[in-house]
Symmetry: D2
Subunit: 338 residues, 4 copies
Amino acid sequence: MIVEMRRGAIQEEIDGVVQRAKSLGLDVQLNLGTEKTVIAILGSNTGQLPIDIFAVLPGVESVTRIMKPYKLASREFKPADSLVSIDGIEIGGKRIIIMAGPCAVETKEQLAEAARVVKESGASILRGGAFKPRTSPFSFQGLEKAGRELLAQVRKQYGIPVVTEVVDPHDVDLVAESADILQVGSRNMQNFALLTTVGKSRRPVILKRGFSCTVTEWLTAADYVLAGGNDQVILCERGIRTFEDSARFSLDVSSIPVIKNFSHLPIIVDPSHAAGHYSLVPALAKAAVAAGADGLLIEVHPNPKEALVDGLQSLTPSDFSTLMKELRAVAKSVGRYI
Amino acid sequence: MIVEMRRGAIQEEIDGVVQRAKSLGLDVQLNLGTEKTVIAILGSNTGQLPIDIFAVLPGVESVTRIMKPYKLASREFKPADSLVSIDGIEIGGKRIIIMAGPCAVETKEQLAEAARVVKESGASILRGGAFKPRTSPFSFQGLEKAGRELLAQVRKQYGIPVVTEVVDPHDVDLVAESADILQVGSRNMQNFALLTTVGKSRRPVILKRGFSCTVTEWLTAADYVLAGGNDQVILCERGIRTFEDSARFSLDVSSIPVIKNFSHLPIIVDPSHAAGHYSLVPALAKAAVAAGADGLLIEVHPNPKEALVDGLQSLTPSDFSTLMKELRAVAKSVGRYI
Amino acid sequence: MIVEMRRGAIQEEIDGVVQRAKSLGLDVQLNLGTEKTVIAILGSNTGQLPIDIFAVLPGVESVTRIMKPYKLASREFKPADSLVSIDGIEIGGKRIIIMAGPCAVETKEQLAEAARVVKESGASILRGGAFKPRTSPFSFQGLEKAGRELLAQVRKQYGIPVVTEVVDPHDVDLVAESADILQVGSRNMQNFALLTTVGKSRRPVILKRGFSCTVTEWLTAADYVLAGGNDQVILCERGIRTFEDSARFSLDVSSIPVIKNFSHLPIIVDPSHAAGHYSLVPALAKAAVAAGADGLLIEVHPNPKEALVDGLQSLTPSDFSTLMKELRAVAKSVGRYI
Amino acid sequence: MIVEMRRGAIQEEIDGVVQRAKSLGLDVQLNLGTEKTVIAILGSNTGQLPIDIFAVLPGVESVTRIMKPYKLASREFKPADSLVSIDGIEIGGKRIIIMAGPCAVETKEQLAEAARVVKESGASILRGGAFKPRTSPFSFQGLEKAGRELLAQVRKQYGIPVVTEVVDPHDVDLVAESADILQVGSRNMQNFALLTTVGKSRRPVILKRGFSCTVTEWLTAADYVLAGGNDQVILCERGIRTFEDSARFSLDVSSIPVIKNFSHLPIIVDPSHAAGHYSLVPALAKAAVAAGADGLLIEVHPNPKEALVDGLQSLTPSDFSTLMKELRAVAKSVGRYI
């Protein structure tokens, strides 16, 4: 950490900073500039210390963090790429993994038809929500228990792994019974009670980025899951909130190379929630693959016009099948395959 | 809702929209412009319908919502101001209510000293966190059970009502035993499992605004609590995330008159979390009162330099006492009192 | 436009809105809902009317625009894709056009070497700035006149068209003498005096998106140039300002399909200014091509370590050459070529 | 500046950074941590150096600026508050200065009536635009020359100083003839050609904050004007662009104490453009005064319903008169007067 003292800070104030650093077992190097004193505070755990510890001291102008606040998710901690394995399907390797399906589980027929389409088009994993966090209490909230049972049935019948969202820490074990991957949604990225609980699960976890969280906060949230002992974490970029309103969220495509640079964890992209409209999904999906994403999470519905949730951003089976062909070409152009 | 058809939309597509509206029991009025057809869909519940229901239909260009998606929190639903009452202290009336105290409960001495200072300066309610949601798993997470017990003791000893945060839906009843007001934090504003549970509690609830949620989403989240039967909801503006980084968050001061216009619920302001630095707190606190806030939630710590959490944004007892005097003058200038 | 009256608006207020609409030659259709009156205002020019005209009237709650405020740039106005032609190079067709070169013209050797590299790698157009708008008055501001002369020399010597920025309306004619394409920078997207002047020029114009302007404002700014009679407008996405700071700006990749949907104008992407760091440029460049961009504007410098401006985001000749090969593969995968 | 080397950076790379710093006449202090080398680069002008100079060197992970990039506008450069004086009216002192009037000059009658109202209510300076930068080329662009003449007439007749906007560098002298204060609008905050020209003028300048510019960029833009020799600069906060859309822009009220901390320049607030709606203006105006603003710039129109520009955000004479009374009370409560 770099502590910049105010111009005119007195010796006693400088000493105060130095003493606090030493009391925490940290090294200190003083830079006595002509105008200002700058104090470098050195140590391997400074990333995990709150900057307030120094910023609150008398005579301090500002404190700048040099080390990142996340640790276990960082590439410095683990230089090699992590692979997450589900039923022999590896995420984070040369193959790009496509997960697809409806936003919400609605009926047996709907889910089975989705599973058929998804499998036929060459996707590997079925998605479907049993618990739906909705902005308004008056909207459809998911089938809950019945939804989980349908997922379990279809997963068995079609032999396809399943990803579904978990929203309450106390449901984690239950949901883990009928799903191969647990999804933590965007609005729960900083629900630390939930993160701690999925960290104790044996199931791989998709950690969606909070729509207003920085990459740094996202990797620090991943630290919660990793610190619990669960190292099967998949990051998922799904668009951030900005001033632009022509899409529902702005897909932060540069987060893909940034994550690859700073972290060993695989990253997938959800173009459907970013777009908010089916017509934008193919362009975003292709951009994500070209930029280096390890997988995609795409909404597909047998009949979007009748969908109970998010029909507008769901692809039809036919559009999805076309997109899969296009994605295969783009994957090949960047040296990967689907 | 206003459905704008694409230029060149055919009769069958227009009929599709009309039929869907009628199947939902809604009225329809067609505007056959020279260039485009625009369909107005009328009915008292259109605010609670997702726009996807129409946007997904063939030939539709865009759908614009006219009615707001929230209902119970709206001033249209309840024109008169709501008052929330805690031990005879009314929030939402002419008196501006000050809640103050440390971010986290640390020790008996710290909390008792804070209570003394807060009471002596004329504030009405003590704040203090027993569960602290922290960005990093390696940071101090609060005293939890021991913290709740300290709150209960100090509340009894000083005869001062207490507000504390609840983070897990399964802790609501427990926390309600030792606190007079339940706080839902910014990162949990869209934790719908938690909102539903506090909606069933008898305790008043402070609903902090998600730092990237719109006023509309905030009032829709309030609908979750109100729909559960708990009408003692206090909104709390605490800064939004923007590109500007000279303060930790940007206090959205205009949300105060906006909320007063669209909702009957009282609104308080937390200048400490918005500022992130003690030196900015007084200006923001005074601005909030001048703009019409019904109360303030301010961090005060007997010794900010030793605080375990958020020391940088905490006022010292002496600075808090000075600020209270200034706030009394500003309150008087806008026809209110503290 | 849709005018929503306040609940309880009286007949006189409704009449006021109707009369104002009629006085402007517009048609009106009244929707007398059970709770509110909604007035649809119809006419082909409502997009160009400010909403204030109605919003300011007594009894009005809100006014929603249905028609877009831009006109000449819209696909409704001109359904077929526009092609911009420079010396036989067509932008907006099947071929993806690469423009590359240094941020600022520094010396004859630097510019000539850049031209050689750019041409050898298969790019079509040389970029280089003579006037550099810099955040601080103490930074290098460009060679100005000498820079323009160097551009003219190198353009002739290497037979490569040149794009350069113009910052002052009174320089447009001068700059047009030594450049084939005029660039309007991000900070000038709403410099209407400049837009009006380049609208009168015969040179094609690259209109960079203001880093905090919406797609709608961008197309409305294009209307300024088009309204002046210059229909050779190329849009350029270069990243928007958001809360995320791991890249200098957030590339709004979804603006590409959005522009293709709403406008007939070609769109190119500047991955260098969005990234701010050379290591992120290749991923963003490939994403842009995969998403449908008609071209790229890339910073390349013979020796980035010695660059006077923006060295950090410049590719070396060798990295640029590698990227060009990768881009050819991605272009082919989406049915285009470079 | 603090240069953080990559883990594993070799000696040659470290030497490269040190040599570049020395070649620029800067001092260097090496911090050889156990995991990383961090190099502090010291010197009084490091704030004005681009970070790219070091960030581009091999082995560098990141560069952090400690010194601010602005200089002349900083409180470190000039510790005492600056006062700007217009016809004996001092801005930046204990008195809060109110500037008011219509957005655009429309007719002699309108401007004269506005001047009368403004003066009668106790405001000191008349505002009115002759050149109106408008988002769409099809909107009213101001009376231009005729507008300037009307301003000159009314200013003389009512003996009230006048502020008006200048948009083209070549108009500065002309506009300075009929106006006492030159306004640089939000969209021109980084129009460096214009800043340079007003820096050479003798007229005081109101520099409006770019709606997506940071406080740091704003003060660096002020450096352009100050560097030209014009030290009569007044900063004006007018709302920033965020995701929130219940007001036109989000007034960044915390920028007021931040500016007071980092700069010696006076700061005023424009609540009208931030709000976008007359009903929000009073709350924002009062908040600005309570937070420490040195003045306000408020839109008032004799008849907002007939205004050609921005009628929705203009106060009527009667509402303005009421607001002035309220503002006097708030000013008094914070130890100032109007």
